[in-house]
Amino acid sequence: MLIDWFTVGAQAVNFLILVVLLKRFLYGPILRAMESREARLAERFAEAEQALERARQAEAEFRRQQQSLEEARGERLRVIEEEAEQRRKELVAAARAETSSLRAAWLGALHSEQELFGRELKRRVGREVLHIARKSLADLSDVELEQRLVERFTTGLAALASKEREQLAATGRSDGLTVRSSFELPESLRSRLRNGLEALLEHEVRVHFHTDSELPLGIELAVGGLKLSWGVDSYFETLQEAVDELFESQIGTPPEAAPEEPA
């Protein structure tokens, strides 16, 4: 008989015992260890996920802060640039004002110097011209310069308008007339001048003669607001204008008309 029923029973019991033993020593511990490991791994994954999430949040926060810092920096930079621009404009305006005042002062000084120079020039030129004219007139003829001047002056008086002649007569009758000359008039010329005036005004006049070295070569008759003169003064005036033009061209345009400096 191939089947021994006692052995069958014993083997069945053996097998069931083996099932219990392996469940106790093999499947149980192994499966528990694996479950524990899986749980731990899951926990670690969860922790890693949380850490990743925290890192993402921290990164987002960092980026937000960085952006706000950038914006604040840009804003501050803009304000500083505006302030700097404002300051620059103020400084430029102040510098321009200072330059303008300096220029005005310089121009004033230049004008006064120009005036002085012109006056001095006029005086010297007059003296030189007088000297030259006198010498040339003396050289050219035996007629003295003073005489020619007086002749010319009396000729000019004769050409006066009637209104001016009346004003001259009124003043001459009451206060007398003042004749200024750049040189000492000799008595002969004085009487010729006086006679010329009386012939013009048709009555006797008192004439006061003054010598003024500041006066350029010529003779001047001042009556109230009326002023009659003949001499080189008009030529001096022309010379003065020429000198003024020269000064103006060297100084350039006046500071008020200077072009606006670009901002």
């Binding site: 021994d4 392996l22 499947y27 511990p29 260890a33």
Partner: protein, 237 residues
């Protein structure tokens, strides 16, 4: 030459006896349990594992997957029974390579005992899942006329389970013994190698068939439950 190790009686007293089959089974049990204990007593759940624990984990997980693939759910409920069937048969068959060791699975008594365990386990799980009436109804499916055939099929498949394993292992040992007598130099080695392959395959077949039989008793219930739910859903719809 003994056809079964049952006939080698080592000790006998009144009705009790100790034969080679039982002794070798104990040895087998000792190896399996002792080996498992040696590894799992220091089982670690962290990431630094010993190779032996890795091996056992791979083995257990592999068996669990096979059980799940058979449709048994949850697999851990069935794993100790089916896994032990596989390990016991595998270990017995592989140890047959050792000279002087006769596989206990080469004893029809042992394979019968294992087949009887399956024979009992199937209705136990079936009744547990379906209840007694539900399980008994299985024998009347698809018609009550099929009852005798179902019962005969139940018995015959148990017998086939026992005889298949016994026949394969016993024949392997017998052929080895015969070849040893006829051509002692070369052929027995080849046959022993074939024996290893056959033993492994037979262990797998035995465990898988047991799983299939149990699943047949359990899965029908699951399918019916699914079908009922579908019908209810349709009725409502």
């Amino acid at each position: 030459m003994d056809i079964s190790p049952d006939s080698v009686v080592l000790w006998q007293w009144q009705g009790l006896k100790l034969n080679a089959t039982m002794l070798l089974t104990w040895l087998n049990m000792l190896l399996l349990t002792g080996g498992a204990w040696l590894v799992t007593r220091r089982a670690r759940s962290d990431h630094s594992l010993e190779r032996r624990q890795h091996f056992l984990e791979a083995l257990v997980v592999g068996m669990e997957r096979q059980v799940r693939a058979m449709g048994l759910s949850p697999p851990r409920e069935f794993l100790p029974f089916i896994g032990t069937l596989f390990l016991f048969v595998l270990c017995a068959n592989l140890l047959a390579i050792i000279p002087g060791y006769e596989a206990p699975t080469g004893s029809l008594s042992t394979t019968t005992a294992l087949a009887l365990c399956v024979f009992v386990a199937v209705p136990l799980w079936g009744i547990q899942r379906r209840g007694l009436r539900g399980f008994l109804k299985l024998y009347l499916q698809p018609s009550p006329l099929m009852l005798p055939f179902n019962l005969m099929g139940e018995l015959s498949r148990t017998l086939a389970l026992a005889v298949r394993l016994f026949g394969n292992i016993m024949s392997g040992a017998m052929i080895g013994g015969i070849l040893l007598a006829v051509a002692p130099l070369f052929f027995p080695v080849i046959m022993q190698l074939f024996g290893l392959l056959t033993g492994t395959i037979q262990a797998y077949i035995f465990a898988v068939l047991a799983a299939v039989y149990i699943a047949a008793a359990v899965q029908v219930e699951q399918q019916r439950e699914t079908g009922d739910t579908t019908k209810k859903g349709d009725a409502h719809g």
